[in-house]
């Protein structure tokens, strides 16, 4: 992509003038949360990797009163992708006639015996792309090769992958296909609330997933399961305000779905993006790393577009499945255990030599706890 990183002109950032003002606002919110929640233990789960990193990097757990517990959920798409998918991508990358394209986050995630990064070092053609449109360009530039895009991500990313399949279809790009492992959030949140091992009073709902799906898909969580839901932005003030809104809902016992991140989320979401998504994909059961199969939590390519489904058009022999021994990613992804309860954490599993996916991904819970301590 020739424009990326090509700085045309640089405008110096404007001087910081109201950071203290923001600090005052946050102090006020924290004080109100402390007063309102006094005597009550409240557990809130975030299900977006960007929120996980934001909460850790702001040191928010340390600022909140002890009775407000923030739990990290399965919000990192890289972390929840199972070994079986990585193994299939690795097997495809070993073929001389294939180019595997992927977002950079997936490169170092270990499969049963190797990662995409390792297969590339052995001569496999694996390329990092910024957008699915770069993958389409690779397919056009390499007509004698099959170009496969690794379709990872939640509802934010899935429409961009659906758009690439429609683009390939409309423009006759026949050597492009997608290895599809997309997942959707609401059924997963339902699986978490019915799991008796985890107590959740409310959800910090994902910001940019909701930009696409809107607020309605979470309604059942409030109405049927009595869970507070607030769709949150990613700045310190956004997250603090969202926690206060959740505490308010919980204290007055009126669970609802509220949007704090109004500048990016409309109640109806983005209908055009949803239309593209549903044109290409349909719901399916999906496997989550360490958790197992969650009904209706995945997206698969519709039969009408099956010629773009890498699983169907690129036959490969996949190595026997092997899980990382001792890794408790599955329990960490569900908020049942903390990274510090894993015997490998900081010891054998570090960002330089990660064993589990939650340490590999920059948005993984283990990576966040390793980097920021909380």
């Amino acid at each position: 992509m020739k424009f990326i990183g090509n700085v045309i002109k640089h405008k110096p950032p404007t001087p910081m003038n109201n950071t203290f003002h923001i600090k005052d606002l946050i102090s006020g919110i924290l004080e109100r949360i402390r007063e309102k929640s006094a005597g009550k233990t409240i557990s809130l789960m975030e299900v977006c990797g960007t929120h996980t990193m934001a909460i850790s990097s702001f040191g928010l757990r340390g600022l909140l009163p002890n009775n407000i517990r923030l739990i990290s959920g399965p919000g990192c798409p890289v972390c929840v992708t199972p070994n079986s998918l990585i193994d299939r991508a690795v097997a495809i990358a070993k073929r001389d006639d294939c180019i595997v394209t992927t977002f950079g986050d997936m490169m170092r995630v270990p499969g049963s015996s190797m990662s995409l990064s390792e297969v590339r070092s052995l001569g496999g053609d694996v390329r990092i792309v910024y957008s699915t449109m770069d993958a389409i360009r690779s397919a056009r530039d390499n007509p004698d090769k099959k170009v496969i895009f690794l379709g990872i991500g939640f509802e934010t990313t899935a429409p961009t992958v659906a758009a690439s399949i429609l683009t390939a279809h409309l423009n006759g790009v026949r050597n492009y296909s997608v290895l599809c492992a997309h997942k959707v959030m609401p059924p997963t949140m339902e699986a978490l609330v019915i799991n008796k091992k985890i107590a959740i009073d409310g959800f910090i709902c994902p910001g940019h997933v909701s930009t696409i799906i809107g607020s309605k898909p979470y309604l059942f969580l409030a109405e049927h399961y009595y869970k507070a839901c607030v769709i949150a932005g990613f700045e310190p003030l956004d997250v603090c305000q969202s926690i206060e809104m959740l505490v308010n809902q919980i204290i007055i016992r009126k669970p609802a779905v509220e949007i704090q991140y109004t500048r990016a989320v409309k109640p109806e979401g983005n209908p055009s993006a949803l239309k593209v998504l549903h044109t290409v994909f349909e719901p399916c059961d999906a496997e989550w790393r360490g958790i197992g199969v969650i009904p209706g939590s995945g997206l698969k390519i519709r039969d009408i577009y099956s010629t773009y489904d890498a699983e169907k058009v690129i036959p490969v022999t996949i190595e026997p499945l092997q899980e990382q021994e001792g890794c408790i990613c599955g329990e960490i992804l569900q908020g049942i255990k903390l990274p510090s309860e894993c015997s490998l954490f900081k010891n054998l599993c570090t960002p330089e030599r990660p064993i589990g996916a939650c340490m590999v991904s920059s948005e993984g819970t283990c990576a966040a706890y390793y980097k920021y301590g909380v």
């Binding site: 990183g5 700085v7 404007t14 001087p15 940019h208």
Partner: protein, 78 residues
């Protein structure tokens, strides 16, 4: 992975646009949006416009990013 940033749309040609923020211009696919015009502020994720923002809200968010950048820079210099 679901990172997205506000940018200003500075060119449109069919579903291909160019968006600008902080002096950086990138190509942006507009297939996922209904109606957009030059000058609109959009939220960009993985090379696609995924939502429109009001100018006021976009500028507020951009200002927050600038402050974070400034704070990080001064931390590094300390």
């Amino acid at each position: 992975m679901c990172l997205a940033v506000p940018m200003k749309l500075i060119s449109i040609e069919g579903t291909a646009g160019i968006a600008e923020q902080g002096g950086v211009s990138i190509p942006v696919n507009l297939m996922l949006m209904e109606t957009l015009k030059i000058g609109d502020y959009i939220i960009v994720h993985a090379g696609f416009a995924i939502q429109k923002m009001s100018e006021e809200e976009a500028l507020e968010t951009i200002e927050i990013y600038r402050e974070c950048y400034q704070a990080q820079t001064s931390d590094t210099n300390e």
